[in-house]
Each structure stands twice: as structure tokens, then as C-alpha cells.
Amino acid sequence: MVEGKIEIRGLNFYYGTFQALQDVTLRIREREITAIIGPSGCGKSTLLRCLNRMNDLIKGARIEGSVKIDGEDIYGSSVDLIRLRKKVGMVFQRPNPFPISIFDNIAYGPAIHHLASKQALPDIVERSLRAVGLWDELKDRLSGSALMLSGEQQQRLCIARLIAVEPEILLMDEPCSALDPVATAKIEKLMLELKCRYTIVIVTHNMQQAARVSDWAAYLYLGKLIEFGETKMLFTTPKKRETEDYITGRFG
């Protein structure tokens, strides 16, 4: 069997004494979209944030088990957090551009990682904006504030900002929850385009969204992985009763 891009094994996660994840084992395949679905508070975001170690910032957080990316345990003692987070980027629930110009938003990552000289930055900005389909709209106002953009444009900009640091994995934490249906459809289309270059893990409340974009889906409930499989199987012939209840809306 092929090794996944990300291998999660026996993952337990605690906020202080509260156990947010219980024995989660999951394989995430390269250049495919894996959706994590489940009701609020089931640990979806926590699981996602284990993959780029954003949970490290939380006091009292503790983790057991292993997460391997390309065969390397990211919780190992020799791991370089900076390299990890450059490789595993994140898109947040609310579009969160910095209150600076569009250009500077995208240049932020490359400048920090010294990926490019000052002269090469405009190229990176253009490439990143093209990758998210914003270049034609924004090429004449790169020095304008990123906050002047619509919510959907802001979220695309955040994805472009991420792409500029050349990641391999994109973690998306309910990237459309602050957007209207039209904007959501555009972001979903973008995700499908990005799939050929990046491994994408998306957390979503929206089951239709998971069904539309993902190749694999994991259903999480109360910190436990209830079912994991190919999206079309999980949504048409779920193996577990709980999964069926949730996806058919008979939940709770």
C-alpha cells in the first residue's frame, strides 16, 4: 500500500485535562483533497492544527501518538518548526490579510524565508496571484490596502500569500464559512485547480462542500474518527450508523 503524504497514527490530543482527540489514525494522500467533517467542537480544527503544530502556541496542550509527513515525525525533537510551517501552510476561517498593501501581504512570506531578492519579489507576487486567479483583477492596484478587497478576494489573497512560500500541503480551516454561496463556489473551484500541485486538507461544516470538492472524507465525532474513506463511498454507502445519521441530517 502506498504511504500517504501525511500519516497520523494513534493521535491523542489534550487541552489541559480535556481530551480533544482520541486515537485518531488517518492517511492523507498526496495531491488529493481530504475533507474532515463533523459537528462543532468535534476536534476538526484541532486535528488540522496538529498537522502544522499550530497547537504548540496553546498553553497546556499535549499530544500523544505520531504525525508523519513524508515519513518524518513532525513532533520529533530534531524538527525545524520553521521549515515545517513553510511546507505545511494554513488558510484560516476568517480571511485575515495584514492591513498592509496587497503586494506586501504576498511578499511577507518570501521576504521572511529569504526566498527571493527584492528584484524577484514582483515575479513571485504575480505568480502567486495568477495561481489564485486574482492577477487580472488586482494587477493595477497592488499597492492598495488588502482590506479594501471583498471577503472572497481576501481569502484568495490569503491563499496566494501561502502559495508564495512554496508549500506542499495546504490546510484549510473552514475557508468559506465567512463567505456567501457565490464566493464559496469560486473558492471551491480554486481548490480543485490547486489540487494538481498541492495536498489539501479541508475542515468544513458544510457537507455539500465536502461532497463537492473532496476525494477522501473523514467523519469526526467527539474527538473520535468514526469513519474514513473515499468521499463518494462515505456519502453514498456509509459503513457506520453514526456517519449515515450525520450526513443525512438525522443527527442528534
Binding site: 499550530m54 476568517r94 485575515n96 521576504a111 521572511i112 524565508h113 490596502s145 482590506l147 512560500v165
Partner: protein, 285 residues
Amino acid sequence: MNQLMNPRRTEKIVFFFLLLSTLVVVLPVILVVGIIVVRGSSVLSWEFLTALPRMGMKAGGIFPAIFGTFCLVVGTVVFALPVGIFSAIYLSEYSKRGRLTRLIELAIVNLAGVPSVVYGLFGLGFFVVFLNFGASILAGSLTLAVMSLPVIITASREALQAVPKSFREVSYSLGATKWQTIRHAVLPHALPGILTGTILSLSRAAGETAPILFTVAAFYLPKLPKSVFDQAMALPYHLYVLSTQVPNVKLELQYGTALVLVALAVLMNIVGIVIRSYFRTKKQW
């Protein structure tokens, strides 16, 4: 009984006392500024602002005092601003929240309440005598800097903590180090608040007499300082001297000096307010 408890009457009485208290607060400010302006503006002239004092300060201008205060303010900025900002960054971003940090924060808050004459004595003992700077602009600036630090640190910490958490999160998620995050994603957005707090504390430092009394201020020195190791005249101390130490000074000279001092403080406060409102209109998170 019913009459007394009438809510409409209560409303009027409450309103009256609230208004009265506010007037009591505002009135002295108006009177002080008004009297100073009325009585001091007659001596204001280009000569008064730019000439050296003459005849034992009974005539001539106050330029050395203005220049001295200017030097002290610049010196205070040079010493207090970097240290203040750096320690605020350490306290708000780096330090572990423990008993020691809380103790340090408590000490800083309390330092802000220490009477300024105590800082003056400290400056005399430490900078003038122990470090052997003598009474000099250097010693005076350092003393004023030490006095200003608690306010600058407190204002800076508040400004840093007001920067949304999401900026830090995004920066870390892009693989930035802690210092890169602070330097590029936090500090630029905290700077307006830091500057406002600093300017307000400087305007206080510019007007203080006690801290400079033993550390820099010259009684009567009708020439400009040549280096930071020289003594200098300063506006607040000059005003004190004119008012109490020199007999038969024209009252207008005292009020004129006070007017310049007040104008300086008001000017600095206005700059602080303008900076703050400018950035407030730009800020959109």
C-alpha cells in the same frame, strides 16, 4: 414622601450634580490657561524667545531655557524609547507568565506613581555622583528617561496587546520566527499607540522640575551648552527661579515663561493626538 421620590425630580438633581462636578473640573483649567495667556502674552516677542537673558534674568529672553528643555526632551527620547519598547516587547511577547513577571509588572506600575522628586534624588545619587557625570544634560536626560520609562512601557504593552492575535497566527503559520513575527507583523501595527504614549509621557517629562533640579538645571547660565556634559537652563526650573529666587522680576516675565512652557506641553499633546487619530482612521481591524 411621594413628592421626594419623584423620578423626574431625581433625574434633575442628578443631572445638576453631574454637570456641577464637570464644571468644577474644567473651570481651573480654563482659569489657569486664561490667566497665563492674558498676563504672559504681553512679553512674548521674537526677542523673548530667541535672546539670552540679561541683567540677572530681569530682562532679555529665555532662549537658553527653551534650548535646554529641548535637549533634555531629545535625550529622554534617545534613552527611554528603545529601552521602553524593548522591555515592553519582552514583557508582553516573550516572558513566561509567572510570579516573577507579575512582580516586575507590578513594580513598573508602581514606579509610575513614585513622586518625581524621588527620581531627582536618585539621579543625583546615581548619575551625577556615582557615575560621575556631574550635573549635566546627560545626567538630566537619563533621570527624566528613568522617570518616563514606566509610562512608556505600560503604553507600549497595551499597544502590543491590542494587535489582533490573528496577525501573529498568520505569521507563525507562514513559518516566521517569533522575532520576525514581532518585527514585521506586530510592531508596525502597535507603533502608533507606542508613539502616542511616548509623546504624552515626554510632555510630562518636559515640564518636570524636581528630576532636573539636582541633575542638570543651571540657575543662571546666559549661554548655550556645548556638550552633553554641560549644565543647561530649563524652562520649568527657570520659571521656579524667576518666581521664588530672584527679587523684583516683572510678573509678566514669569507668566511669559509659563506660557511658553504650557504651549510646549500643549503642542506635544496635540502632536500625540493627531498621530493617534490619523492612525485610528487608517486602522480597520
